[in-house]
């Protein structure tokens, strides 16, 4: 269906607290890296897609103006696409459709965030409506904790078992981040460290939660013809899906989470994936919270509902396991929100092209990347492959 599109280059900043650069310079750092990786210059770019978090987070509204030069967009068409936390994947999807439409040959996609400059949780709170739910909102941790509690209760997962599995996820993500030179948090943690960390929103503790990072990511999309001509190892887009649920929290079932399930189903169908656990070689999930990562495993069909903790405890998703998840250290160790979903896509592209360095999953050919946004409202999935 439609024209083939490939990723021919990716670039990331060193993520973390980046008060050494102003915001546009941070964006420029990622753009330059992506152009260099693709072996092209700004002249080759037909259009630019930008996405960040909303103005509340940025402190500047409509950042496509502010970043005009930094993202190399002067004199070029621009798309500003934003879907909250899923922005990083949504801008990737826009890059795909722009090239697939035939209206552009090479498109540069840029996602960025400077979390250290604004108040992330206050921003999340304003995603809630001012009429009913904002009063009781407790930022992202509050919502994700409610969801995790509902999930454990529904599938009768004993609290200790959930705790143990979540702690293992934290340990393995932190271990993985040690292999990723771009990651924000690069320290090893032990099971005891996680289980004894400060409670944020019970049972979620500090090491179950992602950091607030500064960072940017850029990805270059190209048509089949151009990709074959100028890129030795393109990453091909095999399938993509985006789904959203109702706005009000509590209206749909977050333990089953239809948007995550359906977004993956759509992407699998396009990519011809019937058995994700078997066919996928690696997955980069948007996992700002350890418990939530387990819900994603179930929604994406990696394991039956309610059994994610068992699979985690068996090591199925660790490095060297049946389906390594988040070899980059994931969102849990690096979360510049507007860039995060695009970083997942870039990491998946690095994996299927064998360019992931120390975090490379040996022989990865098919990868899943993902992002989640809103108040548990949106999910986006993109499947990348090494073969057309």
């Amino acid at each position: 269906m439609g024209k083939a599109v490939a990723i021919i280059g990716t670039g990331q900043t060193k993520h973390g607290r980046r008060s050494d650069v102003c915001y546009p310079d941070l964006v420029k750092e990622a753009v330059s890296a992506a152009l260099m990786d693709a072996g092209i210059t700004l002249k080759d770019i037909d259009g630019v897609v930008l996405g960040t978090m909303p103005s509340m987070m940025e402190g500047v509204s409509s950042t496509h103006f502010y970043f005009a030069e930094a993202m190399g967009a002067v004199g070029k068409p621009v798309m500003k696409v934003e879907t909250c936390g899923s922005t990083g994947q949504s801008i990737g999807h826009c890059g795909f459709f722009w090239v697939a439409s035939g209206m552009a040959d090479i498109v540069l996609v840029v996602g960025s965030e400077k979390m250290s400059e604004g108040d992330g949780q206050a921003t999340m709170t304003t995603v809630f409506d001012p009429f009913f739910q904002r009063t009781f909102a407790a930022g992202a941790p509050g919502v994700f904790t409610m969801q995790s509690m509902e999930w454990m209760y529904r599938f009768k997962i004993p609290e200790e078992k959930g705790r143990e599995a979540a702690a293992m996820i934290s340990v393995s993500n932190h271990d993985n981040a040690m292999d990723n030179p771009y990651a924000h948090i690069r320290t090893r943690v032990t099971m005891d460290d996680v289980k004894n960390a400060r409670v944020i929103t019970y049972p979620v503790r500090l090491l179950d939660v992602c950091p607030a990072s500064d960072g940017a990511c850029a990805v270059v999309f190209a048509s089949e013809r151009t990709a074959k001509k100028i890129c030795k190892k393109p990453a091909w887009i095999k399938g993509l899906g985006f789904r959203g649920e109702e706005f009000f929290y509590g209206e749909s079932d977050k333990a089953i989470w239809m948007s995550a399930t359906e977004a993956a189903k759509e992407a699998y169908q396009q990519a011809g994936i019937r058995n994700p656990m078997k066919q996928l070689d690696v997955a980069e999930l948007y996992n700002p919270f350890t418990y939530q990562e387990m819900i994603f495993y179930e929604c994406f069909g990696f394991c039956p509902r309610g059994e994610a903790p068992d699979y985690v405890l068996k090591g199925a998703f660790k490095k060297g396991g049946q389906l390594p998840c988040c070899p980059s250290g994931g969102t849990l160790c690096t979360n510049p929100i507007g860039a995060t979903g695009l970083i997942r896509l870039a990491e998946a592209a690095l994996q299927v092209t064998g360019k992931a360095g120390a975090r490379q999953v040996e022989g990865a050919k098919l990868a899943l990347s993902h992002a989640m946004g809103g108040v548990d409202q949106f999910n986006a999935v993109t499947i990348l492959g090494s073969k057309l």
Binding site: F136, A138, G142, Q147, E150, Y153, T201, Y249, G250, E251
Partner: protein, 155 residues
């Protein structure tokens, strides 16, 4: 100049809004003043939505039928919030909860209170998933969501 010497500018942005509730939500708040919690029922899928909507997001059809739902319900999930952030309206610690009111088909977000919140272990003995809670009304009604002061556990 070393990195640490680069400057930071501090700023704050305040923007005022006047947001329309429209007919359905205005009526919901009018009902709250009468100490009634009202939902709307979809003529197509028969779900009762609280807060009410003028249309069903799934069927995309108008919803005309008001239905009073119970002031009691089941806690579907809850969170003990002990994390302060900018412009938080309720003082920490507080409990946000998703409550399925009897007679409705959606979770209603509100707070559980009326119990000692200072000791987390004792809170966990009182507030439970699947446990029942009931609405406690504010004496003075201001036409907002805190006209229901909170939900308290049913003993």
């Amino acid at each position: 100049m070393s990195k640490e010497e680069y400057r930071i500018v501090k700023g704050q942005v305040m923007v005022p809004y006047e947001l329309a509730l429209g007919r359905t939500w205005s009526e919901f708040y009018d009902y709250l003043k009468e100490e009634k919690i009202m939902g709307k029922k979809c003529g197509k899928c028969s779900r009762v939505l609280v807060p009410p909507r003028s249309f069903c997001p799934r069927c995309f059809e108008d919803m005309d039928e008001w239905v009073e739902v119970s002031q009691e319900g089941v806690v579907e999930t809850w969170v003990y919030v002990n994390m302060p952030f900018f412009a938080q309206e309720i003082k920490i610690p507080f409990i946000s909860a998703q409550i399925r009111l009897d007679g409705s088909d959606t979770g209603f977000i509100h707070q559980v209170a009326g119990i000692d919140l200072s000791d987390f272990d004792s809170v966990r003995e009182t507030v439970k998933l699947g446990g029942r809670v009931k609405a406690v009304w504010s004496k003075e009604k201001k036409g907002n969501i805190l006209d229901i002061a909170y939900f308290e556990p049913v003993k």
